[in-house]
Subunit: 456 residues, 2 copies
Amino acid sequence: MAQKPSIPKGTRDFLPFQVNRRNYIYDTIKTVFKKYAFAPIETPSFELSSTLMGKYGEEGDRLIFRILNSGDKVKKADLKALEEGNLPKFANSLSEKALRYDLTVPFARFVVQHQNDLTFPFKRYQIQPVWRADRPQKGRYQEFYQCDADVVGSDSLLFEVDFIQIFDEVLSALKVPDFTVQINNRKILSGIAEVTKEEDKIIDITVAIDKLDKIGEEGVVKELIEKNVSQEAIDKIRPLFSLTGDTQKMLTFMREFLAESEIGMKGIEELEYVFQKTEILGLKNAKLEFDVTLARGLNYYTGAIFEVKANGVKMGSICGGGRYDDLTGLFGMKNLSGVGISFGADRIYDVLTELELFPEDINQTLEFLFINFGEKEVEYSLPLLQALRNNNVTAELYPDEAKLKKQFKYADDRNAKYTVIVGESELEKNEITIKEMKSGDQETMSIESFTEKYCS
Amino acid sequence: MAQKPSIPKGTRDFLPFQVNRRNYIYDTIKTVFKKYAFAPIETPSFELSSTLMGKYGEEGDRLIFRILNSGDKVKKADLKALEEGNLPKFANSLSEKALRYDLTVPFARFVVQHQNDLTFPFKRYQIQPVWRADRPQKGRYQEFYQCDADVVGSDSLLFEVDFIQIFDEVLSALKVPDFTVQINNRKILSGIAEVTKEEDKIIDITVAIDKLDKIGEEGVVKELIEKNVSQEAIDKIRPLFSLTGDTQKMLTFMREFLAESEIGMKGIEELEYVFQKTEILGLKNAKLEFDVTLARGLNYYTGAIFEVKANGVKMGSICGGGRYDDLTGLFGMKNLSGVGISFGADRIYDVLTELELFPEDINQTLEFLFINFGEKEVEYSLPLLQALRNNNVTAELYPDEAKLKKQFKYADDRNAKYTVIVGESELEKNEITIKEMKSGDQETMSIESFTEKYCS
């Protein structure tokens, strides 16, 4: 019996207009990555489970899609583990491979595995899908693309400078009118914990501070108290909550605030370098803002932390990134500093949709549709069609001698720019009639004029 | 402990030079598909198991990668099925989703599911990976890309004509010097079975004939005898084995041969139409050949059958395709005729490698590398770097003041076209030195000349 077709929850089909819009975003990102001399790599969709498991915490492990072993191998199911309710162990006995969860761990694995074939600093970009067994909900999918660029093998801050340029170029090229690149430095966060004498509470402090946007100053203070941060430390931290405005003033304040912390001062120095070099280069549309409350990826980032927000749109960050120091350590290659960024393509898609920023012509993919009036006219039309195509113009001939109404409906549905009419009269006079679909304007011209105008 | 990194057997990592080569192939195919007004779609990497299972025969089912259900769902493991050795049933109880095995079944599902949003005839292309649990071996992978174009909703033979043009354009653009598009028609094969009065043995007959290349005329005859094809029929079929050469002569012979078979004559008529229209359009590099022994996809194709071979290279077909009549029937949408083709990108990659046809500049991705002489020089270089990038030139600054030898080795490894030298002398005189890496030629010029020459 015929099945009613559907797809798994949390996955998506993409119709042509959606693919064209998505490719517009990917192509823009790719073009900029290339201009900054990042080279593309690709890794397999599935990795050995041992490569992925344990790299994303317990919650991450739960969200990794595992691939069932094929054929007879399922006989090795660990029924004892099932009986004991040890489901991860049971799953392990049935599966040796898993779909990648992000591009970062496969990239680390790739760098270590191919280290002898790579040139360091190694600058790679990678735009591929990842999969997560998240509960499907609005804006959260089980399959989505990540668009990452990373450099490993250098601690030069010039890459932080480049990445700010890349954010600026990509989002400017996509015509996002107003966006902010927020930057902080993990060393500054460490410095804050140090000067408030709460080094062991650095995670608690930064997680709380990071929520300033959402829960306000009193909310943050409440959370700090709950986490047993001392009143003295809280009093010291409090002025940071209202630290906004002029970058130089903020940096001056922080230099004083962190004077006693070597690591904190190192963070300030790094930030100043990035700001100063960015000043030399200039920015097209981005605002660059120091945000001392920005605190993402704390178990991971060791230097700069980036986040990009589209202003005037209710949406979380659309890009992020930062510097890390031991990405490849997990796979046995120590002390390889790196810095990377990621574009949230689905969120950027939503921003462009909401602000109506997709160029109109993205979906005007068909230039000429030849109307089909029958066999004789088809033979007359074919060389003209060919001449257009030889000139790299997208053109097609309606495949059957269908009713005109149907053919013109097809032209409308396909958003054709022109229809070409070759009827009896045109055939007789060696002419061709072109109708511009939007205006409805028609023009009849000789074959010579046509080829001159459109085929050369 | 650190893991020694590796990837599952049958999967591949791609280094930058490989991704660039692969993209060169995909982009060429995509450009031609678009020119012929095919629109892109994408479907999810995994489908519901019920969409895929049973569509590829028993062998196909075995090769489908299944995704293990997440979390508590594995508790529903059907242990009774395992005990009884019913492994497919056991696997079913553990898995509801599976990775797509090809692009055809997902396409059929897509067409039926979205039929109200599509314009028919619907012309789509799709370039995405597929996965098969094949035993890994040379040239056979568990993950590989398919590059398909199909039209559904029309039985017009003009699409067959277009697809021949597409084969010709793509392979000509890739500079494959010599290739043959073989064409046959399933109706001709039916006709052969009919006129030899062996209708019920059509599969046996065509499978045997198809092996002519490999096992020779006597081999085919032997196989026909084994399959109990009558001696009379064999005698009648035998002349087909040596049917080569001039198309018109072959068609004349076949018209006589099939005179008594209505379906056979229909096949001839279709073939003649395709040849005649292709004659009008011309072909760039392709040879178009009628091959009455070409017999692929017999359970599937109902009209034209295509296969493309690169001549002078020991390799199977590099493209294929054909017309089918009931692709979407499985999902409840009957009588939707279609025709489609597929490019074997991995094989084309191997052909281009063997014949050294990849353009050299594919991997010359870095135009300018600025040598780093220290902080002062960096600040002098940054605006020049920016000026190049603003002119869409790929350029980068070496990130550290490393030894010159190391920086030039990087330039070589990255295959940089030029290095830019801004040392003390250049700084003083407001100049810049450009070294062309291939020739070793150096030129010192003013900043003005540089920006005029490279940045505008």
